[in-house]
């Protein structure tokens, strides 16, 4: 596959935290390619390096070694300030705990990324209102986040993540704080809003029930991508592991 079609290319990416006895090798040579228009799920046991990998892809952390290209840029090669600006222009975030500011309305919460980029307030609020309509929260603009259910709060977070029109959407356990049905709806919404070919969505998850929303699934273990599978293959592997475990007991 040509790298031009890939939005993300990782080649032998390494990342280590700490030194000496406290040194932790979080990534041990990650190879990964993600295409434009694709939703890629990152799965694996706790501590396998998922969060470190998305942090590097989103420009929140820098790699120690390896080659990296995210939307045509190596964010690790940018200065701190440049990387911050790059993130603001290219990356949208959906967090496990939503991270909505409780003291302001959901309309203002959605407008925050634009306001941080010094967009005129009127335009930012208009754009935020449009996104809230798209996630099904029209008429609730002045509501505070704490007055909403978990699913509604995650919808607000999705609107906030998309308000700047980012090409890379990074979702960290987006359904872990939600019940099963709400999680399905949220993933459906993310999928629906990111169908355009210029988008790429990376989802870190432990939730097998949302595997089918992804185009491909990257399995991480011990700081490496062990293999890539389709959602059906991933579910089959998971079932196989569960069966093996049951027989051992």
């Amino acid at each position: 596959m040509s790298e031009v079609a890939n939005s993300i290319v990782c080649r032998q990416v390494f990342k280590t935290f700490g030194t000496g006895d406290s040194m932790v090798r979080a990534l041990r040579g990650v190879d990964l390619e993600v295409r434009y228009g694709e939703m890629m799920a990152l799965v694996g046991p706790s501590g396998c390096g998922k969060t470190t990998l998305i942090s590097i892809l989103a420009g929140l952390l820098t790699r120690d070694e390896g080659d990296l290209a995210v939307l045509g840029t190596d964010p690790s090669a940018l200065s701190n300030h440049e990387r911050t600006v790059w993130r603001g222009q290219n990356v949208g975030f959906i967090f496990q705990q939503f991270n909505l500011i409780p003291q302001v309305s959901i309309l203002e919460n959605v407008a925050v990324p634009l306001l941080l980029r010094r967009h005129p307030k009127k335009d930012a609020l208009a754009r935020a209102a449009h996104l809230l309509e798209e996630v099904g929260l029209k008429g609730r603009e002045s509501t505070r986040p704490t007055k909403l259910s978990g699913g509604q709060q995650q919808r607000v977070a999705i609107a906030r993540a998309l308000v700047t029109g980012p090409r890379l959407l990074v979702c960290d356990e987006p359904t872990s704080a939600l019940d099963g049905a709400t999680g399905q709806k949220i993933m459906g919404l993310i999928r629906e809003l990111t169908t355009a070919s210029e988008h790429v969505v990376i989802v870190v998850t432990h939730d097998e029930r949302i595997y089918h929303f992804a185009d491909r699934i990257a399995h991480l273990d011990d700081g490496q991508v062990t293999h890539i599978s389709t959602p059906a293959e991933a579910l089959a592997e998971s079932a196989q592991r569960a069966g093996d475990a049951a027989r051992r007991h």
């Binding site: 993130r87 603001g88 203002e108 925050v112």
Partner: protein, 388 residues
Amino acid sequence: MRGIAIKMLFGDTAKFYGILLGLSFATLLIAQQASIFVGLMSRTYALIEETPQADLWVTDPTLQFVDDTKPMQVTALQRVRSVDGVEWAVPLFKGLLVAKLPTGARQICDVIGVDDASLIGVPARMVKGDVSVLRKPDTIIIETRGARSRLAQPVSLANPDGPKRPIDIGEELELNERRAVIGGIAETKPTFQNVPTIYTTYSRAIGFAPANRRTLSMILVKVSPGQSVTEVRDRIMRETELAVYTPKDFAWTTIEYWMKQTGIPINFGIAIVLGFLVGVAIAGQMFYNFTLDNLKYFGAMKAMGATTPRLLGLVALQGAVAGVLGLGLGLGVTAVVGLSIPGDKLAFKMTWQIPVISAGAVVFIVVASSLLSMRRVVKLDPSEVFQG
């Protein structure tokens, strides 16, 4: 974004009121204690302010402050008058005497004896009567606070402990067993000792006072037109070997005495420092905790593209808004409390420096706690937002 930052501050009601209360209380303590201190200190030199006609005050060289009267020889007056550049010099008697009231009660009073001819030194604001009344025999002028309080007389002589009324013109006192008739009532600035002040002529005052070879407490001097006050001051000092002060120097000498020789500054200083510490402890801590509570939102903003200076600007804005509101509220309460309590009960004088000093203290508290908070924001790793 500034609006959102301010809403974040106001929206966390408990912490916001904690910060506001801390800053207001600190401001209140600092400004009120400082105002009372300045008010008390300004009372120590009330006599100087009440006598604006004098360019110079001549005293015994050992005198330490206005009320520390060390009588000089009467001949000192002639020696001062003979100095080149002196337009006029008049005597002033000042001393504490016991007054016997119509009820028989006794009250210490501060007796001021002014020059018989010119009456220079009599208060300018007469509430009842006229200063010329002092030219009548045995006459004195008292001031309003004394008339209303310590010299006040029972409404009914049959019930001396019952309700009281201000002593008035025409009533009589005894000063050192000599009759003194109240001929006028004047409005004067409160004094530090807060005993009733009685004004009369110099000759009458030394008549009231116990016999003493030296009776001249001070000499008030007017410098001739065209003459330098400091040169004339130096000349009098040189030629008479007496102490000579400008009104400003005399006031400062008095203040310095009270500052150095009494525990007053230390007591007020402790209260002011406590106020400052309260501000640091309550408001500073609350503001720091407020920022810590919001660190995950700042982290999310950092992840979403907010630069560190942008976030620091938001924290600084929150600190500034809290500081301005706390300072304003604290100064407002200080002023209301200070102005609502009568001057004879509370020495309160808020000079322009006091709000400035209070503002400086609040700025220090806010800046220090903001800097601590900002340190956390600067060190904030945006990838922490993925760690729940």
